[in-house]
Amino acid sequence: MSDVYIAGIDMIKFGRYPDKTPALLGAEAVLGALDDAGLTIKDVQSVYSGCVFNTMNGQKILQQVGAFGIPVTNLSNACATGATAVRDAWMAIRTGDYDVVLAVGVEQMTGMGMLGGSRASPIPTEGLMGSASMPATFAEAGMEYAAKHGATFENFANVAVKNHHHSTLNPKAMLQKETPLEMVMGAEMIAYPNTKFMCSINVDGAAAAILVSERKARELGLGRAVRIRASALASDPWQDRNPQMPDINSATRLSAQKAYEMSGIDPADLDLVELHDCFATAELLHYENLQLCSEGEAVRMLEDGETTMGGRIPVNLSGGLLSKGHPIAATGVANLYEICTHLRGEAGQRQQPGAKIGLAHVVGLGTCSAVHILEKA
């Protein structure tokens, strides 16, 4: 089975683009990724396109950049949509049928407001049977952890301080703004313990990756190529509290374990991690879910600065979803872009020195998780 490489990858600056269509946003990312790989759309043999809020976006993107009748699969997997597109592209190349496959994720979210679900009832259930909003759902996941390991509101707030600090050095992030602890804790409380600065931002965004077979990678030259050492996807096994309380931990634990086994890479070998900080309360849980530290050690790891720029294993140098923004289906490709940028030594002022191996993680509520481990070729 062929090894799979990322030959080109790009993301647009996440932000507000009310005058552009999702297809146009996707087209910009696709052309960026093609240029990065030194290929044209005519070299692409198959497409996996992720978008949660629009249908048939893959074809619409090709109609913007060149449509030649190749297979297009449109897919939706909540916040893991982009990473699932990458994984499907990875599998397509491993079959041996394709040498060049495009994975793209796009979302246009400006004006969408707070996301969340509702329950089966003849009357509105929000505020009657608790809350199904995303900020409250992830606050409850954080409070479960707090009860177990003693994390405080201030600890969770420090996640946001760190990630907003990182994004001041990322020109493609939605925000470039320092948010000191008192600003984070004093901001509008959305769902305790998540204040406004502890919630990811709904933005417009797109990101695309060109995956190639080993043969094609060698033909193009391995100079800037990034090897996919593991691509793992898991769903949440049965939980007694599910779906009253969605389980954001199990799927991540399963996908991470699978990715470490697949790659033979140990968590201690990672130089940087981009993980799914959709809310500040989630990040600490994932330190343990991804085996970056042992059980109950996440607060110490954060407060000792181990996951801050310059620390032992920086987490979310891009600014994370909290600050870079979280265009649902683009997120899973964009965090691979961040890892690749560091592995290529092209991350500018936020560069993780000597980065060789990085891990990218997403969680899609409902629930699924994808983990990719990348290595400099």
């Binding site: 003849p122 509105p124 929000e126 505020g127 049977m129 608790g130 809350s131 409850e140 479960e144 769902a191």
Partner: protein, 151 residues
């Protein structure tokens, strides 16, 4: 007004049953093979063990439970009154439920994870459907000191 209001409220969720007398109680399908509870009434197989047609109805012997997690919601969807406490409760003899925790200040200083609560059934905050029907929903309330002594 030509419509007359029904004598009894309707259940706001499938696991609440309202008797002809108007009394409401909880009722959960439970897998007879593995013991998993379901909050849905139409089950054809068990999501935990995969057994088919294995559900029978379980009526909790107690309405007590333990507060497993919560969030104090200050901003919700449009037109929803805030603040309120969204809580997850593990019933002592039933599944975990999500609902509003009431009868306690919406302040992290007054809420303790692991505290004992009662599951109560009450009017669904005067929310009605477009036919004007009333509904009954579930809520959580702290177990009082007097109630603790009684048990």
């Amino acid at each position: 007004m030509t419509e007359t209001e029904p004598a009894h409220p309707l259940p706001a969720t499938p696991f609440i049953k309202v008797e002809q007398t108007g009394a409401a109680h909880l009722e959960f399908p439970r897998c007879t093979v593995c013991g998993a509870f379901s909050l849905e009434t139409n089950r054809i197989a068990c999501g935990k063990c995969g057994a088919r047609d294995s559900f029978s109805l379980h009526h909790p012997a107690t309405m007590r439970g333990i507060l497993h997690s919560y969030s104090i919601v200050h901003r919700s969807f449009p037109d929803v009154a805030v603040p309120f406490i969204s809580a997850i409760v593990d019933m002592d003899d039933g599944p975990s439920l999500k609902g509003n925790l009431r009868g306690i200040a919406p302040d992290p200083g007054s809420i303790s994870l692991g505290m004992a609560v009662n599951v109560v059934l009450d009017d669904a905050l005067n929310r009605k459907d477009d036919q004007g029907n009333h509904y009954v929903s579930h809520f959580f309330e702290p177990v009082t000191a007097t109630q603790e002594l009684e048990t």
